[in-house]
Amino acid sequence: MKLRGGHIITLHLLPLLIPFAAFLLTGITVTVLQSLNLGFPFSNTATVQTLSARAADTQAVSPEAGGTVPGLFSAYREILQSPFFYESVRHSLFIALVSAAASVAAGTALALLIWRTRRAVKKYTVIYKLPLILPHITVAFIVLILFSQSGILSSLAYKLGLIGELREFPNIFYNKTGTGIILSYIWKESPFAALMILSLLQSLDIRYLQTGSMLGGSYFRNFRFLILPHISPALHTSFIILFLYSFGAFDIPFLVGESSPRMLSITVYNLYFREQLSSRPQAMAVLTLMFLFSLIFISLYTRSVSSLNPKARKV
């Protein structure tokens, strides 16, 4: 009977586990193998592009052809010696950290604002979901129209006499700090965080707040000691998701990102598609490092959260 139950569960899970193993795990394995200069059985002989890759590889691999054998970790060595890589890492971490933290904070404020509206107007607050429908590239375009030096806000600042000419408006695009990317992420992702937080806020019993107020708690104290602990699982979950998303996403930096320093995703894209075929293992090495970093980040974050608050649900 127990065996039969086990079989039923396995059969139930198979529809997902098969494609999961066949593509997702194999995809990650191919990435790792190629980063170690081992992935060539997988290159496609049918396309001209990879044919030449193969030729280049066999040349490099076979010592008779005059090439040197690339070591297992040669791609990693090359990446770790390049100063651009560290710049890229710093840039990506900075953008991911700032945009995820700001989105979660803005999402909390947004969720509270929506939660605090009364029943009659609540249905109109759905407009906060608009950025969820828009694709990332459109969001970046909207932020570009609004915030560029010749944009709407710059014009508004000029009309209000805050700036005397176009150049005085802060340049947020194509500068070194990636402010344009961060703003796009905040506008796009704070409704997502708000959505997650709202679902928890709706289950918060108002009588807690009532009791808090009766015991003399200010609104801030109520927020700090009653609301915040209640919504913290949603805060942690959305922070992890948003941090890792903006750490590795491609769309927005590809549209409005600066060329130096570059985000890691753009570095990978350039190494893989724009440079010589021999630098493809380096692209895969960067991806492998990103993969390992994400795993470590998830496990460290969930561990620290659960040690702070044993009741907090893990992702």
């Binding site: 529809p15 990650i28 608009l130």
Partner: protein, 312 residues
């Protein structure tokens, strides 16, 4: 004889819960009914009153609707340059351009909708039984499987998609419609899985047991007992998966390689270019399909529920 405990005054309704068994008081649902006055006073601890409502809605309008209004104005403008707050002149140039390019635009919209809808269907088929297992059964390693299956949402997309691209090249799936549906499914199934799991958790297991005891086969029970009750979960999962698939740029660009038309692929060069008025109009057109589908789905689901006499 023992004296019965004092009865506290209770205003409200008491009913038997869905899995009520005689002698199990835990399954009795008590719903307090507050007077309007109590409700108003309770609400004071939550709401910001009239000022809160007005300022909150205004804030939402300015932050989330005004930017789209700017897109509308921009799509109708002939030229709009610093430091004007409104365009100097209006023109229908963008509209004329779009109507002259209507064939490629419609083709890419159709193609995007087609692969997104197919992704929704495929993802539903893939996740239905796994969701059932994860919601209904306890088995060793369940937490691990649960966490493992979240990988596509948590890990950066590039870390697995570049490797999958290599596999697809090998299998002849790159630059094909099927390849796009497959990669989008691999990327977006967790949203459907989550929605179906929470849907299954809301259905009492006794319904399935009863149907099976009455002689319904596994398939019959799945299709005629569980599926109708899962509809809200399916709708929630389907809308998220559709949106994710429809607005994905990178994966379609990587696997489709430009061979399969997609609206995001069509839109991208315009967003990069200097003609903001055409780009604005095309960006607005993008919104039409998701909005249309949402209204359609709301309608379909409420009709189904009305027909069956179920509560939505």
């Amino acid at each position: 004889m023992k004296k019965s405990p004092p009865v506290t005054p209770f205003h409200g309704t008491v009913s038997a819960g869905p899995d009520y068994r005689p002698g199990s008081p835990n399954h009795i649902i008590a719903k307090p009914v507050h007077s309007p006055e109590t409700l108003r006073r309770l609400d004071l601890y939550r709401t910001g009153g009239l000022i809160g409502d007005v300022s909150g809605l205004t804030f939402l309008l300015v932050v989330f609707v005004l930017p789209l209004a700017v897109l509308v104005i921009s799509s109708l403008s002939a030229s709009w340059s610093f430091p004007e707050l409104l365009p100097e002149a209006l023109s229908l140039r963008a509209l004329q351009y779009v109507s002259s390019q209507i064939r490629p635009i419609l083709l890419s919209l159709l193609s995007s909708s087609a692969y997104s809808l197919l992704t929704v269907g495929f993802v539903f088929l893939l996740s239905l039984l796994p969701a059932r297992a994860l919601a209904r059964y306890d088995f060793p390693g369940k937490t691990f499987v649960d966490a493992l299956l979240l990988i596509p949402v948590l890990l950066p997309v590039m870390t697995f998609s570049m490797g999958i691209h290599v596999i697809f090249l090998r299998l002849g799936l790159s630059d094909t419609f099927a390849g796009i549906v497959l990669i989008l499914s691999i990327y977006s199934y967790p949203y459907m899985l989550r929605a179906l799991i929470s849907g299954y958790l809301r259905i009492p297991g006794q319904y399935t047991t009863t149907a099976r005891n009455l002689g319904g086969s596994f398939l019959y029970t799945l299709l005629h007992v569980e599926l109708p009750m899962l509809l809200p979960g399916i709708a929630a999962g389907a809308s998220v998966v559709f949106l994710v698939a429809f607005s994905e740029y990178f994966l379609v660009f990587l696997i489709g390689g430009g061979a399969v038309p997609s609206y995001t692929g069509y839109l991208f060069p315009f967003l990069q270019g200097s003609d903001h008025s055409i780009a604005s109009l095309l960006a607005l057109i993008f919104l039409v399909i998701p909005l249309l589908l949402f209204f359609l789905m709301e309608g379909i689901i409420s009709t189904i529920y009305k027909k069956r006499g179920l509560e939505a």
